[in-house]
């Protein structure tokens, strides 16, 4: 990359590979990439673990040789599909980086409008822009090897994953819901405070980031494995929250798109 090539990293005397990685953004706020740059205390260690070939949020230089591609954002334009396919062809490993890449994220809120032409007119008016009718996750177009959930991703989790990649360890996302970490953090349950929360059905790993600040979970990391969404509806109802309140949250990031659609269908059928 430059003259200041860091010294070979070792773990217990064994040299560890320094994979060439690149960061890309499709339709997104690039907040997930910013998360990585945010924590200065570990930034240098993180940067020396990998050889960064492209990272718009952090550097000007750009190179096309990379083995791991972290792709943030959802696919909302046809040129993004082409770009994504090119990244896929280059990278040995493609990581869906953050909720937009994993599920469509906040962008996919537009998918529920029945009349895309009307939406475009409302939003762009007399300055039309070419966009697809729906915002889609990466896996609708290319094979995704690893998903890192969250809006935004949790820096500590990303560092742990990258460290494990370098050391050749298995990478596992938590299967349990947010409640596990929320209880470990000794938070007062949001339902006790009269707030709705998707913690019981949303995948953990965020260290109950939002509930720690007394803010109910919106499900950015998508469903936990074996999430009991049906019972969650009962819980919401019992605590006096409307179906729309729950749907607002289920639909916000796209991870629960299937569950939300089923819930809407059931409401219609009633």
């Amino acid at each position: 990359m430059n003259k200041h090539e860091p010294t070979q990293r070792t773990y217990l005397g064994i040299p560890v590979p320094r994979p060439k990685v690149a960061f890309f953004e499709l339709s997104s706020c690039e907040g997930c990439q910013l998360q990585l740059v945010n924590n200065e205390t570990t930034l240098l260690n993180f940067l020396s673990l990998v050889d960064i070939r492209a990272f718009r949020e952090a550097m000007t230089e750009k190179y096309d040789d990379y083995t791991i591609a972290f792709v943030e954002g959802s696919v909302t334009r046809s040129d993004e599909i082409e770009r994504l396919k090119k990244i896929r062809a280059t990278a040995a490993v493609l990581v869906a980086f953050g909720s937009c890449a994993c599920f469509g994220g906040v962008n996919q809120l537009k998918n529920r409008f029945q009349d895309p032409a009307w939406v475009k007119k409302e939003v762009y008016g007399s300055h039309p822009i070419e966009t697809n009718d729906t915002a889609r996750p990466l896996e609708d177009f290319v094979k995704v090897d690893l998903k890192i959930f969250g809006c935004p991703v949790k820096k500590e989790e990303v560092e742990k994953i990258v460290t494990n990649v370098v050391l050749g360890k298995t990478i596992v996302a938590p299967k349990y819901p947010v409640c596990m970490e929320c209880k470990a953090n000794e938070n007062t349950c949001l339902f006790d405070l009269g707030e709705p929360c998707l913690g019981p059905i949303t995948r953990g790993g965020c260290d109950s980031w939002c509930p720690n600040s007394r803010f109910g979970c919106w499900g950015c990391r998508g469903p936990a494995v074996d999430a009991n969404v049906e019972q969650m509806q009962e819980v919401m109802k019992k605590h006096g929250f409307s179906e729309e309140t729950m749907l607002d949250r289920l639909e916000c990031f796209g991870g629960f798109a299937g569950h939300a659609a089923e819930m809407r269908n059931n409401i219609k059928a009633k």
């Binding site: 070792t10 260690n45 360890k169 819901p177 409640c179 209880k183 007062t188 349950c189 009991n228 049906e230």
Partner: protein, 347 residues
Amino acid sequence: MLFRTAEKTELKALFDMLVEKNTVVGPVQTDTDRMGKPLFAFEPVTDQAKLRLDYTTTRLPAKRYFLPFREDLATFTTDGRDWTKTIGYNIDRPYVLFGLHACDINALNKLDKVLMGPVYPMPYYAAKRKNMFIIGTDCRPQPFCFCRSMGADTVLHGFDLFLTDIGDKYFIEIQSAEAYEVAKDLRTETPTEADHMQFMRTVAEMNKLFTAHVDTTDLTKILDMEFQSPVWKQWGDKCLGCGTCSNVCPTCYCYGVEETVDVSLKKARKTKTLYSCNVVDFAEVAGGHNFRPERSTRLKYRYYHKHRGFVEAYEESLCVGCGRCGEACLAGITVPEVIASVRGEEQ
């Protein structure tokens, strides 16, 4: 067993004496729920006025001072090919636990049997448990309390001092030499016959307040018979699989261990995290097979461990009837209802 009585004002003297040289942990109000009811937690407390011995219950048990949710079993530093392992039991001082109810002390006694047993005592637990000074206190049974059904409404050992509010004074039980030393500096008196009567009246009044019950008669046998009962599926359908019941349980001790290498590659740690048998991957093994993929099976096994397996092994239940799991369960699954349904009783 030594019995004494003391004027109510001596409580402050006791607290001040202990807090001077120790970290005191006790029930304090930490929040107010949406109905305006106070929520309590065991927290370090320095001002006796903040100590709420009249607390109903805490959302989380005092277990976290003995079995923290997360703790490092070992940390490692690497230097070239060499590495150094450091083991700490994660306790830097003795604690005074001021105001545990009988159920919570009984919970510790049950944990002792598992974690300080003769074969593989767990030093991380033992180091904390042996450095605790525990003051028990009487309570007012709440609608969710069924400790009496579980034989955990009174406590015989596992504490240093026990205070029972008998109206105008405290009836004090002294259980340890340390407690004797502490009580020596208080103004106490030998209980009179009238004090004994008042103590018995207080206990009888308390017993009348129980509304929740669990019938434990022949329960291990009934659980054996009803292993295939359809009620497990019904409760499993309701279960969120969120693990909250275990996390608020004063006796759940199951855990997972994870080894992580720091991003610097110069440090590593082995971390123990309390886990729950109701969580989806609790019984998932290497290779990916899951022995309990259904929520109903997982929920059932939690009941079988508490109310059957542990009873077979230790001749007592692993449940103390504190009712926290039922109170915290968003799906409204409570022990009295589950056991009654297994017994074929209408609720």
